[in-house]
């Protein structure tokens, strides 16, 4: 599959789908559960939560479409894992920290110039 991103419009839509995929408490929790661990089956992802397998499957599909997770078949079940490049691509984490620095340095300016 080609993942070339040539136009900024495409990137922007791409960002929007990423935000939409993560803008949900359940899906964010799933990302956190999948983060930094081995691939997980739907059964394991469902463990200890009140959410049904069907719901988890639906969430996974949305996340897969946004390129956040990928699944591969292992015997009869699919194992899911995060798509690390998606998070490396996504500069939002740095944007957040960057914005916090902008604010902090604005406060420093006020502090030393006043």
């Amino acid at each position: 599959m080609s993942r070339r991103r040539s136009s900024s419009a495409f990137q922007a839509k791409d960002s929007a789908s990423l935000f939409a995929a993560l803008g949900d408490e359940t899906r964010l929790r799933m990302v956190l559960r999948l983060g930094g661990r081995e691939p997980m089956s739907i059964a394991r992802l469902t463990e200890g939560s009140k959410i049904t397998r069907q719901a988890i499957t639906k969430h996974l599909r949305i996340m897969e479409q946004a390129g956040l997770v990928r699944g591969h078949w292992h015997g009869r079940e699919r194992l899911w894992q995060l798509e690390p490049s998606r998070f490396k691509d996504a500069s939002h984490y740095l944007d957040l920290i960057s914005r916090q620095w902008d604010e902090a340095l604005g406060r420093l300016r006020k502090f030393v110039e006043d």
């Binding site: 136009s7 922007a12 929007a16 935000f19 964010l28 983060g35 902090a104 300016r109 502090f111 030393v112």
Partner: protein
Amino acid sequence: MSTDRIEKKILLKAPLARVWRAISDSQEFGTWFGMKLEGPFTPGATMRGVIVPTKVNAEVAAAQKQFEGKKIEITIERMEPERLISFRWHPHAVEPGVDYSREPTTLIVFALEQTPDGVMLTVTESGFDQIPLARRAQAFQANDQGWGMVVKLVGDYLVQAP
């Protein structure tokens, strides 16, 4: 764009000694940054503190309120008077119930340079590539203005896109 490093530059119209005090005196640092630190900055020392709303900006103070009391740990690396201070911390370590102590830290460097127009402060924070994916994902919900801000940013991107 580097995924590992952030760099900021700001020109401060204040005497070098004044700027140095604001970044090297832990109490002054805490006043503008929005944290309460125990003890002075000393190279090699790990110091603990808590987030307190900044006294400099009421709007920011309100946004920081949700993180009030969160523990912060800073390890000072280098101090060169009126030139440089560097330290390590866990970036955005505000998630309740998470022990960040075993995770990698980022390195923050404040460097000062006297120029004819004032003091040029360069702040760099590096080491983000070592921060676990899950922490980076959390940042999606972590920004202090909440989702409204994020949605607005996406909207801005869309408007700007040709």
